[in-house]
Symmetry: D2
């Protein structure tokens, strides 16, 4: 396991999914958590993250963490995006890490290093 | 480490971030990956996930994984959302798992089980 | 001119675009209003509108205007979405009404009444 | 009526809303058009517009209309955003032009020219 993960106290995705599930169950939020609603909430939170950056130049956007208030906002929105992504995955029994690893492998074929763009234009 | 993570081949977030970084570096995509652009791309991908569900009833939305083509689409969009979230976090040196754990703790105080909604209405 | 438009005090799109332009110019907001930033802001505001509905059932979503506070919120977010859409169109000299009329005509060919879905599956 | 509106063949918002309503009715799409679904679709289309700009520099974003293919894409996405915004407004009986005019007036008080930012920080 990497140093980074250990810095995070050995946190892992399945454990966080478990805590999110317990949190929602204790508050009877389950009925609201349809995949459709969770996908909507995920997209709303991703927009809240984008909102922080919408009027910034590329250079300003790279410096947001130097302001403690904005840094907290960024971390807070990252947490919200991840929370809804993980709850969405729990609801549909999708393993997000496996899905990403498979996508990276597909993209290695689709976008070869030094190659020309794929014919389908995508 | 949980059974779930082992089912995913021992994948973890720092390792996936490392692979995404190598992928982008090999293709010279670094200059495009400003925090602002990555936040925009994250929000675009979250909307592509929502698009799958936009006309479905809550019941239909819970059954999307029974169609193999839609199931693949869902996994593909989940991968894209996670990929941009992790690249965004790498760009700003935010640890997403720690951010989420801290948010869950704040929310436990903010939304007490069986309690009344917080006075600030949020 | 329709009764509806007269009810709105004879408001029309070009006049509102003119007022938005004067508003931004008076406050020196022009430099922030690149097409990219306006497209981001439009998408952020559309998500704020969606946020009102994210946990509602389809039935509840149809009844939002019966609560005066929510009705005001809906109108406020509609105004924000339209404001950024019109400013985006001004920035790139796109006529939104002409673009929509052209799209309706294309869609009439693409989705014939009583016809089968188009072969390209889109 | 402005020259601009006449260039657009005298198109106005209520007439386009009428055509969108006839289009949806003829195809039995009414049941899908709950306010919640239309708000989701609006946000998805706004993201598709943003997608065109997500990797562009501010300068490149200002030049998109010089490429005919991208120009058509921009117009097409503007049309989709406006279509769902107008259908959303029809579903809830909101007049978008009146809502925007009222919002501009509120903003003139909230952001006085040459004034300091409002105390509430918004």
């Amino acid at each position: 396991m990497s140093d980074h993960a250990e810095a995070g106290g050995g946190l892992d995705v399945p454990e966080l999914q478990q805590r999110l599930r317990a949190f929602a169950t204790a508050r009877d939020w389950g009925p609201f958590h349809t995949p459709k609603n969770l996908a909507a909430a995920l997209s709303v939170e991703a927009s809240e993250l984008l909102e922080i950056f919408q009027w910034l130049t590329p250079e300003q956007s790279a410096a947001v963490m130097s302001d403690p208030k904005t840094a907290h906002q960024v971390e807070d929105e990252v947490a919200d995006v991840l929370a809804y992504l993980l709850q969405f995955c729990s609801a549909l029994d999708v393993d997000p890490l496996t899905a990403l690893a498979a996508k990276i492998e597909r993209n290695e074929l689709r976008f070869p290093v030094g190659g020309t763009p794929p014919l389908d234009g995508s």
